[in-house]
């Protein structure tokens, strides 16, 4: 669990544990997978087909399809639109276009 996060002071919401590439991370109910990862400094979400270039959050509203990760075994899910729940499993680096 990272000690220093990017949470806004005073941010609340019931804490839950999610698994990010098999590592337990604390998230808050109401967060999306994208912001839960970002709060703990995880920015690289996938790598592209042609160049293996790192990609992460870009539009934040489900339009750009760059933030694709595997959630609970299902691939190509937009991290910015997927809410966290207890024991959610995220795998990064799994989605090319």
């Amino acid at each position: 669990m990272a000690p220093s996060t990017l949470h806004v002071p005073g941010s609340r919401g019931d804490p839950v544990t999610i698994l990010v590439d098999d590592e337990p991370v604390e998230a808050r109910i109401g967060e999306t997978v994208a912001s839960a990862l970002l709060a703990h400094g995880r920015r690289v979400l996938r790598r592209t087909d042609r160049r293996g270039a790192p990609r992460g959050l870009f539009c934040g509203i489900g339009v750009c399809y760059d933030c694709l990760v595997t959630v609970d075994g299902i691939g190509h899910r937009r991290a910015c639109l997927t809410p966290v729940h207890a024991n959610l499993r995220v795998e990064t680096g799994t989605a090319s276009p």
Binding site: L6, E31, L38, C59, V63
Partner: protein
């Protein structure tokens, strides 16, 4: 599975909510659809993570919560998590709702699909840490997470002022505010004609000044650098035509860059419906043409409201929504004297709000010279990894339109369906060919306008599907 409704409204932002309220109050059977988990769209986005601070909620959140409650009280039904991927004659809507395919048949349609941010490609713009201002706003407003520790805000438009204020209030460090428009005394003078907006503007600019955020007008971020993530941004001044002045380059350390140049109307559905559109870069690009007194499009039974009719902001969106909601109700036989009075009053308000919106669009028009920040190896189409050099090659051998470039390079053929690369590609092709952007055109939408699993398509069509994806 097929549902039948009198009036379906696509999009529960300020425009869609306003339309739903007026129609539902007159007794119309209203179904409001939105792809997100909550109503409010972008402008009135409701937070999903609670926050305990003395600062309280923003005025937009409060306004949104009140409007959402009114719409519910008026009896309109709302489906969240619903992505409309196609519309067909008879107004058959195909949508995916919470992982299931559904069809809805509507007698009247109000399209309130809004807009998304206009991104311009530049070297390094795909690095994690580079995002749109709307993304930064969603992170702080809805999720209560800061985009980074040292944030640069860049691009153009009044939206940057709003995001700047919200970032600062959340405790972010904004190390530079970079606006492409030049400081203009004539714009300030024209502001004098809109006294009801002085307070709003003063509040926005005041926060930036009070926190001593370095402000740079007539400037742009021309590159983002870093190994795996953003580490540095390069800023230059622009000449009077908007072309970067390389001798004025400065470098700034940053781990988050929120950059975009206004908004682009989401006209995919109105295009599928066959509505008439026009092209005006100041209004965001392609927009749906409507009769201002009623919100009707060129297709009978279809109305369009809000940003999809041309970027104009939330106040215009709300009055457009009211007008169309009332007129749609009237066309369904629901009317009374009170509604007649509301319609007249709302039409007058619309003209006033539109004047301010036009002024803002003119003041923040992206200069023509800002058309090619890309070099040959800069990615333009993020989804398919098509470089600027690939586009230039296509033009060299004869491509003159967006469609031709798309067919040659695959630019626009990825998951985002050309939404993100569209503006850059259009301007770059226009700059290379000397053609008008309206002639170069946009990526013509086809259904599905959002990626959808085949199993959902079959479910919606009522087929027994063996697929279990």
């Amino acid at each position: 599975m097929t549902e039948h409704r009198d009036l379906v409204i696509i999009g529960a932002g300020p425009a869609g909510l306003s339309a739903a309220l007026e129609a539902a109050r007159l007794g119309v059977d209203v179904l409001l659809l939105d792809e997100y988990g909550r109503s409010g769209g972008q402008y009135m986005k409701q937070p999903t993570v609670p926050l305990e601070t003395a600062a309280g909620v923003s005025p937009q959140v409060r306004e949104g919560a009140a409007l959402i409650a009114e719409v519910e009280a008026a009896g309109a039904e709302t489906w969240h998590g619903s992505e409309v991927w196609g519309v067909f004659p008879g107004f058959r809507l195909c949508l995916e709702r919470d992982g299931r395919g559904i069809e809805v048949v509507a007698k009247r349609l109000i399209v309130a699909s809004g807009a998304h941010e206009r991104a311009m490609a530049f070297p390094g713009w795909t690095l994690p840490g580079v995002m749109t201002p709307g993304c930064a706003q969603t992170l702080v407003k809805s999720q209560h997470v800061l985009p980074g520790r040292r944030i640069v805000l860049a691009g153009s438009g009044p939206f940057l002022l709003v995001v700047g204020k919200q970032l600062l209030e959340a405790g972010a460090e904004v190390v530079a505010y970079v606006e492409a428009a030049r400081w203009s005394w004539s714009a300030l003078f024209t502001m004098a004609c809109f006294p009801d907006r002085w307070g709003e503007l003063g509040g926005l600019v005041g926060t930036l000044l009070a926190r001593r955020v370095p402000l740079r007008f007539g400037s742009a971020v021309v590159a983002a650098r870093g190994q795996e993530c953003l580490e540095r941004v390069i800023i230059t001044r622009l000449d009077r035509q908007g072309r970067p002045l390389p001798d004025s380059e400065t470098e700034l350390a940053a781990d988050a860059l929120a950059v975009a140049y206004g908004f682009r109307p989401s006209t995919e559905l109105t295009t599928l419906l066959g509505c008439r559109h026009e092209f005006d870069d100041r209004r965001g690009g392609r927009f749906c043409v409507v009769d201002e007194s009623s919100g009707t499009t060129s297709v009978e039974g279809v109305y369009a409201v809000g940003e999809v009719t041309g970027v104009g902001g939330a106040r215009v969106a709300r009055v457009e929504g009211c007008i169309a909601g009332l007129c749609a109700a009237r066309s369904l036989g629901r009317w009374d004297g009170e509604a007649e009075r509301r319609l007249s009053g709302t039409r007058r308000r619309r003209r006033r709000e539109q004047r301010f919106a036009d002024f803002v669009n003119r003041a923040f028009e992206t200069p023509k010279g800002l058309s090619a920040l890309v070099s040959d190896d800069t990615v333009v189409c993020r989804c398919e990894e098509v470089d600027a050099g690939d586009i230039a090659e296509a033009v060299r051998i004869g491509a003159r339109t967006m469609t031709a470039v798309k067919m040659w390079t695959r630019c626009g053929m990825g998951r985002c369906q050309g939404r993100i690369c569209g503006w850059t590609a259009n301007r770059y092709i226009a700059a290379l060919t000397g053609l008008d952007p309206a002639v170069v055109g946009v990526n013509e939408p086809r259904f599905p306008v959002k990626p959808v699993a085949l199993a959902r398509v079959l479910e919606g069509a009522g087929a027994q599907s063996a697929l279990s994806v």
